[in-house]
């Protein structure tokens, strides 16, 4: 009797909720697995999400921003029965996906653009964007990160190791945490107190990646002189000569520091105070995997290649489940395993069947993250209303729908940028051309240096005056002493002037050094390509859509009328209006997508105020409420930028002919829905009370609602 009863109740659940209407069979499978769970716990799934709720959520989840007014209208008006599935595909195909997922992975990988090595961080950022743009499968991305050596101008993926330059042991802990969801950091210094890992396990694992050497920069290529050449009298003379040009060489070599990862056979040694009996302090440790199958080096395969293959194999017990769970969490607001990166042998997912299915799905899709996300987004489960309550600590969530969450810092910022500039997705993943040009210049310099015989190099520098001649040093000393005397006598200005002369005298040698290495023309080219222009924000200034800070005649006339002949008051009003325009203008011009700004943004930037990760520790972003966020939205430039005539939002609102339609557009722009009947009443009151100010009032008010900051 048992069997039919279950079937009957299952059928009842389906009757109540409707069988899965998902567009993809794999999506229906997710719904089916969860339906069993709801039945077991006598739960009802949440209602199907309205088009408005789905619309805003799918934009934020895929392209990391809210839809524009036009985009919202088009979707809501469409009667196509496949419109949700179509929108999912359209957004997954857009470059907005690249920007949104870049922000996510940059937080996980602690990607900092301003890191060791002049442009290594920028190259790393560009690598990550291009990998996402070509939808490189996750296992391939991870293998590339783990195994890439060479220079930043050849592959930005070297940024993975350079990020933790000089901290290879720490780097291993991060690698295992990020890709295998396992925390072994404690075992770096002693056996793990809460898990089974020993310090020896840690060193065995570290031995795989320890050979990826980040220290080597440019050194004078003595190799060019041959083995014997190194010890020849020639070389000794050279070393002596070298002293006189070492400042110049240092200067040239400086720009090449931390740009290259070299694969070596180096192995880690146990610490000097190793205290366990299985080995002696300072012993060299061989690589060995911490779990799963042994790592076997195939014929012709390097240690790191074999390790990367082991790490990303479907047979690895944690690699697949970690990424499957992470992306599920990203879509649904909570993982089936929490925390996502602290798995132990006793970790049990909240729904084992679903976790196994998702793990298999990820492997079946060959780690194609878009294909995997597409399945989740097309499920009924994803397309339900959010749960009305959050999940209490320690409580199991049964995924009767997604959980509501605050937009990430980048999503808040990109949504504001969208309101100001409209659809920003098409510009999202252009490479950082300025950085690329600089990287090319570095590559050229490196090649030139490496190809030169050191004897020739020293001669070249000397002949160009790049050597520190005794005369020059004497002159510098003389000027310095004089500057000191002047300063003691109280003549600080003159002392400063002399100091500047000293600096330029020193720098003259440095410029000559570049000319000596690259030739006059080459040095000029290098100066142009490498030194000039910033890399931080890419793309030129937008010519269209610029506003002048000055006011139009009509605006001035209106202010004069308001002031009623009081000239002082009129002036004050005009000043204020101009200031407002200026602030709005700065915001309009500065609204560059988060993924195109330095990572992380500087402290005090709106992105940081809203909790952007400092990219110091793994997933350090925060979605916590904080007072500066309220202050930024109440008093910061955003409110003015939105109502500035040149914002895309204002222009779309202005196109509407009636006040009602304008207000509808305001709601669509900020909340992706039209006002309810109650809200319409409130708005009518505002219009009566506030007249011309009504629109700006409503815009500013909506910007400061919880509904704006959260995605349902």
């Amino acid at each position: 009797m048992k069997q039919p009863l279950t079937c009957l109740t299952l059928a009842l659940v389906f009757a109540a909720t409707g069988a899965s209407a998902a567009a993809l069979p794999e999506s229906a499978k997710i719904d089916e697995i969860l339906a069993k769970e709801w039945q077991k716990y006598s739960l009802q799934p949440n209602e199907k999400a309205s088009d408005e709720v789905f619309l805003r959520r799918i934009y934020v989840d895929v392209v990391g921003r809210i839809p524009t007014i036009d985009e919202a209208k088009a979707f809501l008006a469409s009667t196509d029965k496949d419109k949700r599935a179509n929108l999912i595909d359209q957004l997954l195909g857009s470059d907005g996906y690249v920007a949104n997922y870049f922000n996510y992975f940059a937080d996980i990988l602690r990607l900092q653009t301003d890191t060791k090595g002049a442009l290594t961080g920028y190259a790393y950022a560009d690598w990550l964007k291009s990998a996402l743009k070509k939808n490189q499968p996750w296992d391939g991305m991870v293998r590339e990160l783990l195994t890439t050596d060479g220079s930043s101008w050849d592959s930005g993926a070297i940024g993975f190791y350079m990020r933790d330059q000089g901290m290879q042991l720490d780097h291993l802990a991060a690698t295992v945490q990020v890709f295998l969801g396992t925390q072994i950091v404690c075992a770096q210094c002693h056996n793990h107190p809460f898990d089974k890992w020993t310090q020896m396990d840690y060193y065995h694992m570290a031995a795989f990646t320890y050979g990826m050497d980040s220290k080597k920069g440019y050194n004078l290529n003595f190799g060019k002189m041959g083995k014997e050449g190194k010890n020849s009298p020639d070389a000794q003379t050279l070393r002596r000569d070298l002293k006189s040009v070492q400042e110049s060489i240092k200067e040239v070599g400086k720009v090449l520091r931390y740009t290259t990862i070299t694969e070596t056979n180096r192995l880690p040694k146990l610490p000097h105070d190793y205290k366990y009996s299985d080995a002696k302090p300072n012993e060299e440790i061989q690589p060995k995997s911490m779990f799963g199958e042994a790592v076997e080096q195939k014929e012709g395969e390097s240690r790191i290649d074999a390790f990367a293959r082991w790490m990303t194999a479907p047979a690895n017990p944690r690699f697949t489940v970690v990424i499957a769970n992470r992306l599920w969490k990203r879509a649904m607001g909570m993982g089936l395993i929490e925390p996502v990166d602290e798995m132990t042998d006793s970790t049990a997912p909240s729904n084992g069947e679903l976790m196994s299915y998702l793990e298999k799905l990820m492997a079946d899709k060959k780690y194609d993250m878009k294909a995997y996300l597409r399945v989740i987004f097309n499920s009924d489960t994803y397309q339900r209303m959010p749960s009305k309550k959050d999940v209490a600590l320690g409580e199991t969530y049964h995924f009767t729908g997604p959980l509501m969450r605050r937009l990430s810092a980048e999503q808040v910022w990109d949504s504001v940028a969208t309101l100001i500039k409209g659809n920003i997705d098409d510009k999202a993943s252009e490479p950082n051309y300025a950085a690329e040009r600089k990287l090319d210049a570095l590559g050229k310099l490196y090649d030139t240096l490496s190809s030169k015989d050191p004897r020739q190099l020293v001669e070249d520098i000397k002949s160009k005056g790049g050597a520190e001649s005794p005369e020059k040093l004497a002159k510098i000393k003389e000027l310095t002493d004089k500057a000191n005397e002047l300063r003691r006598a109280g003549n600080k200005e003159e002392a400063s002037k002399l100091q500047k002369q000293v600096s330029s005298l020193r720098n003259s040698g440095r410029k000559d050094a570049f000319a000596a290495v690259l030739g006059e023309e080459g040095a000029r080219e290098f100066q142009r390509d490498y030194r000039e222009g910033g890399v931080k924000a890419k793309g030129g200034k937008e010519k269209d859509g610029l506003v002048r800070a000055s006011l139009s005649r009509a605006e001035i006339e209106k202010i004069m009328a308001d002031a009623g002949g009081d000239k002082k008051k009129a002036r004050e009003l005009i000043d204020a209006a101009q200031k407002r325009n200026k602030v709005g203008l700065a915001m309009v011009n500065g609204a560059t997508r988060a993924s195109d700004l330095p990572s992380p943004s500087p402290r005090g930037h709106m992105l940081r105020i809203f909790g952007q990760s400092d990219r110091e520790t793994i997933e350090n972003a925060s979605r916590e409420a904080a007072v500066p966020q309220a202050l930024a939205l109440l008093n910061g430039p955003v409110a003015d930028a939105l109502v500035n005539d040149n914002s895309d939002f204002s222009q779309q609102v202005a196109r509407e002919s009636t006040n009602d339609a304008k207000m509808d557009a305001v709601f669509l722009g900020l909340l992706s829905r039209r006002p309810t009947a109650d809200e319409k009443k409130i708005i009518a009151g505002v219009m009566t009370e506030r007249g011309d100010n009504a629109k700006a009032d409503v815009v500013h008010a909506l910007l400061n609602t919880g509904e704006f900051l959260f995605v349902k």
């Binding site: 309550k389 000191n484 003691r488 925060s622 109440l634 919880g706």
Partner: protein, 433 residues
């Protein structure tokens, strides 16, 4: 008003993990759980406790590595001193570099530590070590001293942040692994005050109130529908934001309220203005203020650049010490001046000095410190520490001790690793009293 910077009642990942740590492994359960290990690890921590001698700290950070020989470690008559002459100060037997003539007048308040030793020789690493007592790891970020103070003692003025950092260094460790609410507020330009605390220029108070009320009305339905802690938190921060905007304490950040004489006394420039702001903030109940002065990385032309640096420092530091003393604030305000490392006693071929963590100097004044003394010694020429070696954790333990922070109290990071303020440093007791 809970906090200026953050609401903690939220299930963010960090928080989730730290609560798990508290409830499951937790701070209270820890001693039993770790009985042996915890003792083994923290046996070295100082058990010293005392009534705090300082209520506030003004922490002046000389970024880039301040040359010890050309400032506080006077080595008259040595080659290493280079062209620098030395001057007498208000403290018997204490000499200073001629570059610090104004500061010299306040040395009876100041204790010099000439025997610091760091293990880090690169800027970022040494700076981090000095600020946190721990070396840089890529698996964790340690809290700075201001954050430790807030963690242990909370904040005294609830409508203002507990600590402030006036710097352009965006890599300051800040709250480290502590909750965001422990973060120092960062100000890059002391003249511009707090960000976003004044309403938009074209709005009247009534306009803004109207909009805030309207926002509440338009958000009613959403808030009623969703019973989420983080949605509620957003309701609270708006209340707090309005309170701050109307708070009388905001004047603490407004340097325009200082008379011209004060601006003249401290000097212009970011550091000088930062020192003036620091005094103002401390007066208003902000207990930990850091001000940084960059430009000390004098690999070239040390004897032209150091005096220029010192001119800025000397004026502001002397003004600060004098001003605090006049106002009676020096008794409970500890002024610390430190840096990441010293500079090579040997003058290099560019008339510069290179990085030198082996021996360098810092000073402390006020807040229970006995002025007019020199602690620790180097050999002649400032190469090696010979007496009373001070590690970075020792130096920080001294600051923590003055504030009355428990040096042996273990705090667990969200990743459940145990840490103490100032690592295992021992406070320099002879400096007090």
């Amino acid at each position: 008003m809970n906090t200026l910077l953050s609401k903690a009642d939220l299930l963010s990942r960090r928080d989730f993990v730290s609560r798990m740590a508290k409830t499951c492994l937790g701070v209270t359960a820890a001693p039993m759980l770790f009985e042996q290990k915890a003792h083994a690890i923290f046996d070295g921590s100082s058990k010293l406790r005392q009534v705090p001698t300082a209520r506030n700290v003004i922490y002046l950070y000389m970024s880039g590595g301040m040359s010890h020989l050309d400032t506080f470690n006077a080595q008259p008559g040595t080659d290493e001193a280079g062209p620098v002459k030395h001057i007498k100060t208000s403290a018997d037997g204490v000499l200073l570099s001629e570059y610090l003539p104004e500061t010299a007048k306040h040395m009876h308040h100041v204790a010099i530590v000439n025997s610091l030793m760091s293990t880090q020789g690169a800027h970022a690493q040494a700076n981090y070590f000095m600020h946190t007592s721990y070396t840089v790891r890529s698996t964790i970020k340690h809290p700075s001293m201001g954050a430790w103070m807030t963690k242990f003692q909370g904040r005294s003025n609830p409508s203002l942040p507990a600590s402030v950092v006036i710097t352009n260094d965006s890599k300051h460790p800040g709250a480290g692994f502590f909750e965001a609410s422990m973060s120092p507020l960062s100000i890059s330009n002391p003249a511009s005050g707090l960000q976003n605390v004044h309403r938009l220029a074209h709005l009247t108070e009534d306009d803004l109130d109207y909009r805030i009320n309207l926002a509440q009305k338009l958000d009613t339905q959403f808030r009623a529908q969703y019973d989420y802690a983080d949605v509620r938190a957003y309701g609270d921060i708006y209340k707090d934001a309005v309170k701050i905007m109307k708070s009388e304490d905001l004047v603490a950040f407004d340097l325009n309220k200082e008379p011209d004489e004060m601006h003249k006394l401290y000097g212009s420039g970011t550091f000088s203005q930062g020192c003036l702001l620091a005094r103002r903030l401390v007066e208003h109940g902000i207990r930990f203020v850091e001000v940084s002065l960059g430009g000390w990385d004098t690999h070239n032309d040390n004897f032209v650049r150091v005096p220029e640096q010192c001119a800025t420092l000397d004026k502001a530091l002397a003004a600060l010490l004098g001003d605090l003393s006049t106002r009676g604030m020096l008794d409970d305000t500890l002024v610390v001046l430190t840096t990441e490392f010293g500079r090579t006693p040997k003058i290099n071929q560019n008339e510069g000095r290179d990085h030198y963590p082996k021996a360098f100097s810092s000073i402390l004044a006020g807040g229970g410190i006995r002025g007019g003394q020199i602690y620790g010694k180097t050999d002649k020429g400032g190469h090696e520490v010979t007496d009373d070696r001070v590690s970075i954790p020792d130096f920080n333990a001294t600051i923590a001790y003055a504030l009355g922070l428990p040096l042996d109290q273990v705090i667990f990071s969200p990743s459940k690793r145990p840490f103490t303020v100032a690592d295992k440093g021992q406070p320099l007791l002879p400096l007090f009293g």
